[in-house]
Symmetry: C2
Subunit: 309 residues, 2 copies
């Protein structure tokens, strides 16, 4: 399969490398890593075993990607304004476009550009960092759930899931992509948000009683809002407790948003907060605590203040 990777952060590089190692023709759209990867290839340091790809196809110009069978979008969501320029050059008649980005609104953004019939969405559970040029560190997990944006042909989804599995990536096909996205938000909203705001790892958030209570209340707001969005019925309130228990096993894990805030990087607040808040409000189930957390996080995104929280 010929696959384009748009957005070569840790997630794009990791899945792209896995797919190339699995025998696919993978083409990376690169910016900062372009020269390093063209010269020395790509190294994956992984909990499942390191590997190196000596020859990698990396281009700077999307026009050089050529028409692909599958375009995987792994751009940070605040850069979605660039999708109209980055994605179409690799899209032909039979091309599928899969977004593995965080939060909500990404399938819609792609549908407006390439048509909803070719859009798939995936929720990735991956712990990975990009540190030095030309390499990616896979710290754990990696499972993906993929589904269709519109209901056309579920077998396409099965084929994409099978392609990932053939490449050694755990992957499931889901009927209800919206549900999978909201389920991930149940974790992302409290843990990414609070860890970024307070600069404390997840073990503090689940062990300090007032924050643990707040985490749970935030989760229950997301669960309630999710119930208005999914086609297969509401999420269970038990899901919040299960997620908290699951998080207790993570130790002093620092979510990516905590690290990004510490390094003064822009956060994905639109896809993880603003769009979910808007949809919940529109459905008549406002998430008031989530909205407060969003406002507090926005304050830290103001010019000249990125490091001051």
């Amino acid at each position: 399969m010929r696959i384009a990777i748009i957005g070569s952060g840790a997630l794009g590089l990791y899945y792209g490398a896995m797919l190339q190692r699995g025998g696919n023709d993978v083409r990376f759209l690169l910016r900062s890593d372009h020269d390093a990867i063209r010269e020395r290839g790509l190294t994956v340091h992984s909990v499942a075993g390191d590997f190196h790809l000596p020859v990698v196809t990396g281009v700077r110009d999307p026009g050089e990607l050529g028409e692909c069978d599958l375009v995987i979008v792994a751009l940070k969501t605040f850069a979605n304004g660039r999708l109209p320029e980055l994605v179409p050059p690799a899209v032909g008649e039979g091309t599928l476009v899969l977004t593995l980005q965080n939060g909500l609104g990404n399938e819609e953004a792609l549908a407006a550009i390439v048509g909803g019939h070719r859009v798939l969405g995936g929720v990735a559970f991956l712990c990975a960092n990009r540190l030095e040029s030309g390499s990616v560190h896979h710290l754990g997990a990696g499972r993906i759930l993929v589904g269709e944006y519109e209901e056309h042909d579920h077998r396409r989804v099965e084929r994409v899931a099978e392609m990932f599995r053939q490449a050694g990536v755990e992957c499931g096909a889901v009927e209800d992509l919206v549900r999978a996205r909201w389920e991930k938000l149940v974790w992302n909203i409290p843990f990414n948000g609070l860890s970024a705001l307070l600069q404390r790892p997840v073990d503090f958030l689940v062990s300090f009683a007032p924050l643990r209570a707040l985490v749970r209340e935030l989760m229950l707001e997301v669960v309630a809002a999710a119930g208005t969005q999914t086609k297969n019925g509401p999420l269970s309130g038990r899901y919040a407790d299960a997620m908290i228990e699951f998080t207790e096993g993570m130790g002093p894990y620092q979510p990516s948003m905590m690290i990004d805030r510490r390094l003064g990087r822009q956060l994905e607040l639109d896809s993880i907060f603003a769009i979910p808040l808007e949809r919940a409000l529109h459905a008549g189930v406002p998430m008031v605590r989530v909205q407060e957390l969003h406002a507090l996080l926005l304050a830290g995104e103001q010019q000249g203040d990125l490091h001051s929280l």
Copy 2:
């Protein structure tokens, strides 16, 4: 009038100095400033004109205060556990005890020690700092509203108010002390809380749209809870907007809680947050956004983390 000042931070020193200058016999219970004030007296640097009191009665031991007509309590509220040891030595048959402390729960704490019949409460609107030993800086305002904890004899309240006015302190007697306390919380909860958490002055909080909206929502929660507590009917929702407009005139003012957090000092979270939250919840009007802000502030009070926000 013989007056004891218990708690000689900026507020206690300022009002004590004004009362002494006004002709009263004022005795200060001192700790850190004791030697400096005994040796060199007390200097007030004030927007209304500086003055110096060369001889000041300051004691370290509450047993040396002697029986007073009025005991003014100006202790930080997190030190209220020390009231049983500090207040009774100055209290005789006809003594009144006036707390000028922040938030809720202070009249109750004093009533349990000296009896509710002698307890008055005052809400102080004062901008003052204590910097170098033996002096206090009065930056603005200073008005006090005083009222009775229990309804006994409103003329006593009028006399205390008159005593302050004689000493040049703007002071009014109120029928509904609880209402005055809650009205002050409408300002204190959002502006003290958010400025401490985000380390941003009030002009940022009222000019950055997401925070201005949050300030207003926090205020409306306090207004709604206040309506269940006051005897003279609910506060108007207009009160929140009036407070926001009022704050716009303050410029880059840094509330005391913002400064205290920056300096790693303990915050008065019980009297300004925990007790109001408890009373609102008990009255069936939970303040969910206030509770979230409280939890976030509590996280920063954890040992070893006082400077990390």
